[in-house]
Amino acid sequence: MKRIVLVDDMEIFNFIMVNSIKSVNPAYCVHDFTSPVQAFSAIEELDPHLVFLDLNMPEMDGWAFLEKMQARNMSQKVYILTSSTSELDIQRSKSFTNVARFLVKPVEEELLEEILQEGELV
């Protein structure tokens, strides 16, 4: 079954995402982290199918997270999930090959379903 990692310093977002994903398919295995540092070390172990990553976080922000992944040649699919609508951020996200999409919070149910089904057939 699909393994999903959530990285967001704000617990409420993780609450929303966990429940949203469970609503779409209760069988998905969701791991949520409010600490990006802990999330990063967990990724190597969990090897998730996809990661939902917040950008604006203390300790290690989303960009540092992505750079670290790049440095270690980690290719897990990342969906950026942020409340920022900044065009600059959108452009910057395109420089990471493992970033699949740039999502603006909150994600509508239909879009989430679509994302979770992406690659399901592969």
Partner: protein, 283 residues
Amino acid sequence: MENQVYRITYEAFSRFSNSLMCCRTLEAVAASFRLNLKYLFNFHVFRASYCRGNTYLHLEVTAAGAVITKQGHASFLSFEEELLERRVPRHWQNLQELQLPQDYSQPAEELPELWGWVIQNDENRHIVVSVLAGKSRLFTRKDINFLKLVAENLEAKLFELCLLQELDEKNKRLQHALDTINEQNQVISSIVEYQQEVIVERTKEVAAKNAKLLEVSVLNAHNVREPLSRVLGLVNLLEMREWPLEEVRQNFLPRLKTSAQDLDIALKEVIEKSTADLIELKA
């Protein structure tokens, strides 16, 4: 014999004329008269009065020397005024009533006579000349020809010197005007330069203010959007399916409340910051 006298006088006149031609100042004119006039005819006092505009020139030649005076107001002797009025040559033998100056006085036995003319060089140019003569310095009608030549030459020279002086003054005035214009130009260009500096400076300030305001507004929008997206996310989640009331009460309401409060705080901060920025930028 008379021809001989005429020839000698002509030579003297030629020397006088050459000497006068070279004069560049009124003083030089006086010096030339002091040297040369006595070879042309006899006199106690030779006087010439010339006027152009507000300039009055009086040349007086005596045995003691020659003086030329320049005055800014009418300063004719009374007999000269009479000559100017009537414009006919005069020959006075009774000098008592003429109110002549001190240097005209001669002993009675000298039998002094005063001759006077207004010599017209053209319609607007004339000169008043007069000669005081007497028994020992005899002036006769035969001398009048030379006197007229002298007067014409003198008038021409004084006219020339006056014109030169006027030209000089005009040049000075022009130069002064030019200097003033240059000074004004400098003032104007320094003002323009200053204005340009001010404009550049103000433009920079305005651009900096705009950039700051833009930055503030972007920052504010992000800060506000974060808690707002939590509220929206929770509401979306509530709509996804039926939730047990207990779960809504326990899991949703506190999170909604926290998010709504964070949104409230963020908005208050925006208002506070924007007001502070506006006050700062206006200052």
